[in-house]
Amino acid sequence: MAVSEPEFRRALSDFVFKIDQLGKSERWTLHKSELGICAKQSVMVKFRGEAVNRQVHITYNSTYSVPVLWFNFYRRDGTPLSTSEVLEMSNNEDSMDITQYISLNEHPILGVLFYNIHPCKTKDIMNELTGKGNYIAK
């Protein structure tokens, strides 16, 4: 399922608006710049009994014509979780093993390293997760 960039922009704006309308505490915000459009979410989650900040971003990848999910986790003092800790966080009960497709890469808007799901797998993942909600939130 390929998505053109204009379609992505409309869908992302619509997504952020609808989530906001639901009044959920886990809000997304929309950010536009010369480098592209990005939706961001920042929430606190538990990791081994400790509160950590989870950052999730959604950008568009023009090579594969798909959204890309970027994420990172930070302790209260601002230090990021290690790779093995991030992979532990990302493991879940979905039938597909996501962790083999998780890699560090440069965030196209921030220009720093974030984890992503390899965009060439996004199509498969979107199909696999239909009806299962946002696996990043798990």
């Binding site: 090579t63 440069e106 220009g111 390293l113 390899h118 060439c120």
Partner: protein
């Protein structure tokens, strides 16, 4: 001829190395200045592959230093170094015009926000992600990279790590095949400007009239702002690339081992060549 593969060019680019001056920024107040260490690093390699060896070299001369590859980070010209970029890209971006070397400071203070350590395994994963993306651009399907055996993927990375040109090209040759019957769909190009994320957009090899697109046209789409007033030169592998160079030629001959053509926008000034 414009789209031909040139063995000599590829060999020379593979063999190119750049001189790096490493300095240690000690966090103690001893006031002792460490002597710099020098290393020639391959342009096509990555700092995470060489960091442990560089630190051993520094420790061999200054045995009072505690340097842990997991804890140090690197800085150049006052900014954290993006060690996951190829060495050649970083050198082209950061080497001062008036010096033959690029200076890299080994920092032992806590990492700045946004600077993550990069292990060799993480570097390999990033390399493979770039390689797959480059070849998806060229083929629009994962037909070649996907159909390759896993050990052929491994061979590309392993050949790079161990500096084996022939082993690398025995696999990479298939990724560089492009003919009139079966041309590249898009040319994998990334443009780098200091302090910004790299820029990347789809770059077809031919324009609407079926003519070869050139570097000038790619840059116009990627960086119209940088082309104005001749403020910048565009460098790849240390060479200011002529703007009329066809993209197909660059894609076949100037790609780094991850199969991307990495172009650096470097500010012109009165000292430039």
């Amino acid at each position: 001829m414009a789209g031909e593969f040139d063995y000599e060019v590829s060999r020379k680019l593979w063999e190119a190395a750049v001189p790096i001056e490493f300095q240690v920024d000690r966090d103690d107040e001893s006031g002792d200045a460490c002597k710099p260490s020098y290393a020639m690093l391959p342009r096509c390699g990555y700092f995470p592959l060489y960091l442990a060896r560089v630190l051993e070299q520094v420790r061999a001369r200054e045995d009072t230093i505690k340097l842990d590859a997991e804890k140090v980070w690197l800085e150049s010209n006052g900014s954290p170094l993006k060690i996951y970029y190829p060495v050649g890209v970083l050198f082209d971006l950061h080497k001062p015009l008036d010096s033959p070397t690029m200076t890299v400071v080994i920092k032992t203070t806590p990492r700045p926000e946004g600077v993550l350590p990069v292990s060799k395994d993480a570097m390999e994963a990033m390399f493979m992600q770039s390689l797959k993306e480059a070849n998806y651009l060229k083929r629009r399907k994962d037909e070649i990279v996907s159909s390759m055996k896993v050990d052929e993927h491994k061979q590309l990375w392993s050949s790079l790590v161990h500096d084996r040109f022939d082993d690398f090209w025995s696999v990479n040759r298939r990724l560089m095949e492009s003919t009139e019957e079966r041309p590249f769909h898009d040319i994998p190009i990334r443009l780098y400007v200091t302090g910004q994320p790299f820029r990347q957009m789809l770059q077809p090899p031919l324009d609407a009239n079926g003519e070869q697109r050139t570097l000038s046209q790619a840059l116009d789409s990627l960086s119209h702002d940088l082309l104005e007033n001749n403020k910048y030169r565009f460098i790849s592998h240390g060479i200011t690339v002529p703007l009329e160079t066809p993209l197909v030629y660059l894609g076949k001959n100037f790609a780094y081992p991850d199969n991307f053509v990495h172009i650096c926008a470097v500010r012109n000034n009165s000292i430039s060549n």
